[in-house]
């Protein structure tokens, strides 16, 4: 495994502790990162990338315009890739994403890659959660099952998770 210490250009060292302390002070006393002892297993691609259906998952807090945001519920929003979207997220400046959703919700980018034959196609429904859910169990109970179901229902070969 490529350990964090091998990433010599990592300018974010120390941020995990800084962010944890900030969240404890301002949002949730006792916040702790949800830690795992072992990595999730890899599931190798079963088809060439050029034939793969790619599903988009992101933590931008995107939701179809006119629908309620997911907030800190841990729920996942199902977002049609042709739908108008709104970004609701307290942890980053959503004005940039509102100006150009591709910075955190790369639907058009993936569609161009499909048109070029780099990937097979793009799943018609993306999944977005609001990445600032501080009680990790909420994501595990709500967002994760919904995300997995959405990817499976669309026969996604490769899910791309984009953090905001």
């Amino acid at each position: 495994m490529a350990a964090t210490s091998d990433i010599t250009a990592d300018d974010s060292r120390g941020f995990a502790a800084l962010e944890r302390d900030h969240l404890r002070a301002d949002w949730l006393a006792g916040f702790e990162w949800l830690a795992y002892d072992a990595p999730s297993p890899r599931n190798p691609l079963r088809v060439p990338l050029s034939q793969a259906r790619v599903g988009l998952v992101d933590t931008s807090g995107a939701h179809e315009t006119g629908t309620p945001p997911t907030g800190s519920s841990g729920r996942a929003a199902l977002v049609g890739i042709d739908a108008g979207i709104t970004f609701t997220h307290p942890g980053f400046d959503t004005e940039r994403a509102a100006a150009d959703p591709e910075v955190v919700h790369p639907v058009a980018t993936l569609q161009r890659l499909a048109a070029q034959g780099f990937i097979g196609d793009v799943a018609p429904v993306a999944v977005s959660v609001m990445g600032g859910v501080l009680i990790g169990q909420r994501l595990l109970d709500r967002g994760v099952p919904a995300t997995v179901a959405a990817m499976r229902d669309q026969h996604v070969d490769l899910a791309l998770l984009v953090p905001a």
Partner: protein, 80 residues
């Protein structure tokens, strides 16, 4: 296949495979309007999905924010 802007946090959670890009929060794939960069990053990330990385690998990619000090300020909690 995940992207990460903070390898330390990713190393705690341990997804199956992640690619590190030193980009600001909210501009993960590049600047507003920079479609070429968005595509370069997504291409590079998806390409790594075809390679035989061990589970838990965090692969550094050569993408760094150089336009201004936004990322640095974010990492000091001085900017959103």
């Amino acid at each position: 296949m995940s992207i990460t802007q903070v390898p330390e946090i990713t190393a705690i959670i341990k997804p199956s495979l992640a690619c590190f890009v030193a980009m600001p929060f909210g501009l993960t794939l590049g600047d507003v309007g920079d479609a070429a960069m968005h595509e370069q990053i997504v291409r590079a990330v998806l390409h790594e999905a075809e390679r035989e990385h061990p589970a838990g690998s965090i692969v550094p990619l050569p993408f760094r924010w150089e336009r201004d000090d936004l990322r640095a300020r974010q990492l000091r909690k001085e900017a959103l």
